[in-house]
Structures are given as C-alpha cells and as structure tokens.
Amino acid sequence: MDIRLNILIIIMGSALVTLIPRVLPLVVLSRIQLPNGLIRWLQHIPVAVMAALIAQELFITEGRFAFNQLEWLAALPTLAVAIITRSLLGTVIVGLVCMMLLRWLF
C-alpha cells in the first residue's frame, strides 16, 4: 500500500467535510415534521439542482461564463434522445457517441 501521509490527510479531510452535509439533513429532518412550505420548497430542489449542474457543464469554463460549442453540439441530440426515449442509458450512450465524433472531427 503506497499511500503518502499528506495524501491520506487530504483524503480523510475532504471525505469528512463531504460526509457531514450528506448525512446531516437526512438524519435530522427525517425525524421531525416539516412545515408544508418547506416541503413545497424542497420539491423543486431536484429540477433546480439538475438544471444548475447542466448549466455549469455547458456555460462555465474555469469558473467563468463561456459558450462551450462542442458540449452544446453534443447536448442537443442528447436532449432530443432523452425527450423521445426517456431512457437514461440511451441518453448517456448517444451523448458519449456524439462527443466522441465531435472531438474526432474538430
């Protein structure tokens, strides 16, 4: 096992600061009755987070706004397949193939 001490500290530290926000709401909020307003708000989180993550991939490069052309060209057929087939696997396959072709062409 070749694990250096500084890398071990980085892994343990980043794992701990990742674990806490992952488990804390689940452990605490699932024990109490949440007000309806909060539940209504939480219901929008999935769409909001997914859209934000997509935007970050397609519009942001190294922390700044950028129109990532190849990503956009690949995203359009990917989106079309997602809407038509509603298959997660199909969507990922088409996305990968499109990106592979685009990187090969340009």
Binding site: I7, I10, P25, Q43, A48, E57, T91, M99
Partner: protein, 239 residues
C-alpha cells in the same frame, strides 16, 4: 399476476440494483476518467482507490487530483472540496421526507452514499408515483458505489496508456446523465411550466453567479433561489 405486482411495489434491494443499471455507463466512464486524472496527477492506485472509497464524489475527485498536481496546500484542497460538495446538503434535505420513520443509523448509511445521480434516480422514482424504501435505496447506492470504485481503479491502472480520456468523449457522460435525469424529472411533473421556469431560472442564475462566485457556489445559490421561485409560483397559482 397480483402477487407479481406486489413484489414489484415492496422495498427491494434487487429492484434498487436494477434501477441503478441505466446510470452505470455514466459512473463507469466518469469513474474511469477520474482514475486516469488521478494517475496523471501523480497519485498511486491505492490512493485513488482510497479516495473513491471515502470521498466518493465525482467532481470532488477531479478537483482534488488537479489541486494535488498543482501542489496546493492541504487546507485549500479540503476547503475547496467542502464548497464543491456542499450542494449535497440540499439533496439530503430534499430526500429526507421520504425516509421518515427509519432509524438515524439507516439514514446515515443512505446519506453517506448520496450522489447527484442516485438522488436523481430516487426522485424520479418518487415523482413517477413509486415508493422509495431503505433497501431499495441501499441497492441503488451500493451498485453505484462499487461501480465507481472499480471504474476509478481501472482508470488508475490503465491511465498510463490513455493519458487524455476526454478525447473519447468520456467526460460528456456527466452532462448527458444530468440531461437525462432532468428530462425524466420534468416529464413526471403535473404542471410542466412550473419546473420549466425553475430550470430556466436555475440556468440563468448559474451564469449570473459565475461573475461573482466560483462555479460550485453558483450551483448552490441557483438551486436555493430557483427552488424559492418555484415554491412562490406554486403558492400563487394554487390559490
């Protein structure tokens, strides 16, 4: 037939494993790429495996590898990873109401393996009218976790022959999976225009926030603000 139907409805580990399958290609390609990036940043295969086992977070692992390669200070790396992964706070909170009545220990187990993808799959499951239970979630999470671990190790082992995995489009598996998860989530909504506005405002806020904050902070701000917009619209229109 009726027995069969009941078997599908109950909380089943195997069903969770099956429901993870459509996302596996995404975990495998991104995990492989993360392993390669770890290797090229000078990490050993043991270190890559340990990071996957304990940190278990795609974007976090790419950034850690990049910062290790750039010899960033330990405190800066841990602080950055904290911010990158802070969005899990929202995912964990949003999924919590579906795990009421199970023990804190079980909630801790589920939370420790929560990812953008497993959260997306679980919430799509909920919005298509199915129940999610502890065993189902465990099957989903364990399958994803093992695939991620194996894929990053494979990337670490084969990394020296494939120094630039992005040439093969592997990195695009992540946005492709998010697109698929978003479309599934929108499709199961009753009033389509409300989540459409939420999604659109989230995109615009991420772009706007990129001028002020770093990328990961933008995602958190966008998620909080656009969910608020969604909740306000819903309150207005339901009266």
């Amino acid at each position: 037939m009726e027995l069969n139907h009941q078997a599908i409805q109950k909380d089943s580990f195997i069903q969770g494993v099956k429901d993870c399958v459509p996302t596996l290609l995404g975990y495998l390609s991104i995990g492989f790429a993360a392993g390669v990036v770890g290797k090229t940043s000078g990490m050993s295969v043991s270190e890559i495996a340990l990071m996957s086992a304990l940190l278990y977070a795609g974007s976090g692992q790419f950034i850690t590898a990049g910062m290790i390669a750039a010899s960033s200070p330990i405190s800066a790396i841990i602080f950055t990873i904290f911010f990158i992964n802070l969005r899990h706070l929202l995912l964990s909170a949003a999924i919590a109401p579906h795990f009421k009545g199970i023990s804190s220990w079980k909630n801790l187990v589920i939370g420790s393996q929560l990812t953008d993808e497993s959260f997306g799959v679980a919430m799509n499951h909920v919005s298509s009218g199915k129940n999610i239970g502890y065993r189902w979630m465990l099957g989903l999470n364990m399958t994803a976790y093992l695939n991620w671990l194996l894929a990053t190790i494979a990337g670490g082992l084969l990394g020296k022959w494939i120094p630039h995995p992005e040439v093969y489009g592997l990195d695009f598996a992540l946005p492709a999976m998010f697109i698929g998860l978003l479309v599934l989530q929108l499709h199961s909504s009753k009033k389509l225009w409300v989540p459409m506005i939420v999604a659109l405002s989230s995109v615009l806020i991420v772009i706007g926030a990129s001028y002020i904050f770093t990328g990961s902070m933008g995602v958190i701000i966008a998620a909080i603000l656009s969910s608020t917009i969604g909740a306000v619209i819903q309150k207005w229109t339901s009266d």
